[in-house]
Amino acid sequence: MQTFHNIGTSTDWIVMVVYFIVIMLFGSYFGRYTKNTSDFFFGGRRFSWWLITMSIVATGVGSHSFVKYSAKGFEHGISSSMTYLNDWFFIPFFMFGWLPIIVYSKVRSIPEYFEKRFSPSARFLATILLLLYMIGYIGIGFLTLGKAVIPMLPEAFTLFGMTVPITLMGAIIVIAIITGIYITFGGQTAVIFTDLLQGFILLFAGLLLFFFGITYLGGFDIFWNLLPMEWKLPLADFNQPSNFNFVGIFWQDAIAGSIGFLFMNQGLIMRFMACKNVNEGRKAAAINILFVLPISAIVVGNAGWVGKAISVKSPHIVSPSVSPDQIFVVVANIIASPGMFGFIMAALTAALMSTVDTLINATAAIFINDVYRPVKQFLKSMAVSEIERDKKELLAARYASIGVTALGVLAVLAFKNFPTVYEAHGFFHSTLTPPLVVGIFLGVFWKRFTPSAVITTFVGGVALMILGARYPGIFIAPFDHGIEMNQAHPYSYIRALYNTFVCVGVAVIVTITTQWQVKIISIIRNGKNSKMIMNTITALAIAFFVVVLMNISDLYMQCLSATAVLIFIPLLVTYFVKYDEITNTNGLTAGSINVARKLFKGAAPNDQEGQKVLVHFKQVDGDDTVVHFSTEDMILMKANPGDLVYLSDKRKWMGGLKSIHSVFGKPHDEKGKVYITSSQIKHGLFVKEKLLTAEKEM
């Protein structure tokens, strides 16, 4: 396989350095809006849909990167776009199930949902799985970044007379340091605004590259006619080859990946939580999937398609044996002029950094919410005042960002031996998402789903997944749809179907046998040695899980051990975990969203549709939790005291950066004025004489 070094000129490097300085200054400017942990992680829940849509572009495009889709575009053609065009199926579940629940239940992280919906032990296991998922994702991001910049770097450089080779890991460590510095001092507001800028630049750079490629080849008709027919088809062959087939990718990406991305990617969830309300979040998701993703599919894959066309026309310029992960850089260098190549490379690396930034910020949020705070509470060492506590948490969040960055670099080691980034990412998604995806999905849509079922899914489901990974020819083969098993990387994609199947199977069986578990536990409780029996079952469950985990004994014994885990875990959870179906599901399932809305507001929601009104603010002393409008304005808004209100700067292009959420207080008689306190003015960043738009939320 042909690999490259030293691609690009000094002009390209200058353009790249200038680009990065501008982006970092831009991010730092908005970093000053980070005043507390809510701003650091959620941007203060105030932004408009268009701002969030564009900022999601940089995150989505970055993670589904130029490198891996160009590689598959070069190897297989237009079907590299299929992973971008299969996300619509789960959108009803997201828009009307998960999104309102996470907003109205005020959870700050996905594991926190597991505690509210199930139990603290479910939260603990979800935290472990989610941290693994997020850190793995960061590792994939760093690996892609490293593979993107390596072709531009020399093979080695000389320092104090010593020749230092440039390795993939070395490049990744330097990139990680730059990324870590930026995110640590910026926070979510900085990330959102940097991503907004980068979203536009990315789309522009990708489309520009396509234009250059078409021009280089002599026009679109020539490009289209150069591609072999198989390269023009939008979907891959049903079940071959093993490293890129439709059915495997359907289960890995359209099912596990789409639910994983929409439901458990804390980075994306935090973007939606930064929207000013649920409906804005729905708009952001819809516009992103309907219009932005198809454009993004062209943006990220076209270098591979153009590379294929050039390799057909002029194989001496682009050899068919070019390393697929390097094709983006190779093609960009051929078709773009010096300086322009630097700009395209800067946009690519900045996009990847956006993804990694978002994930680092999100993982730090999980650490603070699900590790730091519970540990502090356990040690009873909470600071006296809220301000002091928030200050400490913000500092801890910054340290957590540094730690997560370091772990992300280590995670690269697990993926760097896959032939392409695409396969590494596919394997990662297929393996890590199913247990959490099943846990969240059934938790939201099935009221009967119990803590026993979710914890057994996390433990027993994982045990069955380990067996599948160890004996793919026995366990995964029945699900393979005729895909040939690659001995080096068996069933990288279709394993998602097996993993999802076993997790759903465990979840359903444990849920429908709840009454049996309750009966057995009541018999044990009524016996004399209940504690001793339960301690024995605990020890056995751990021992059996270790047998599977550590590959002790033969296949037969491991299967028996996994079965024992599936029997013992539900009994243990039923015995030790307190669970009340009504309390634990109220406002936390799709069937109780109206309860969630009521809990969110603290009173019955007011759904009468009113108008938006324009007002000037008047500073008053008083209660910081309410704002006061005139009676006339409140009639126009169809609002009553106690309803929720969103107040923002009238200038729409600000996207809600200058805004607050509050509660309607008692009305006054001064039409066109809203009475607010100095601290509300400061928090909303309102400017004197500038008009504000007010709208009733609920």
Partner: protein, 99 residues
């Protein structure tokens, strides 16, 4: 037959199984009450959801026909843009009628 496994078989699998999941998603959220078609905004979302499904189905079908040489590749963006424009115009007209 080999071409079928590269063209319409994945298409049928994608929109058959995907379609079942999509309809199940709408059904379960309506049944749960979180998707309330009595509310005007939710009714609007229902149309957007259905449009999105047809939009993607048409996108893949047109791209497959274009790859097979049955239609011109330029037809793909023209039809898709046309669909989006018609949908937006209809949405604006219905909004105007209601106000």
């Amino acid at each position: 037959m080999e071409l079928y496994s590269h063209t319409w078989l994945p298409f049928i699998y994608l929109y058959g199984l995907g379609g079942i999941l999509f309809i199940f998603g709408i059904y379960i959220t309506i049944k749960a009450g979180s998707f309330d078609l009595q509310r005007r905004t939710h009714k609007k979302w229902m149309w957007i959801l259905l449009f999105g499904f047809v939009w993607y189905l048409m996108m893949h079908a047109l791209m497959t026909w274009a790859a097979l040489g049955i239609i011109s590749v330029y037809t793909v963006p023209i039809v898709l843009l046309g669909m989006a424009v018609v949908f937006i115009v209809l949405a604006l007209l219905s909004k105007k009628t209601k106000t």
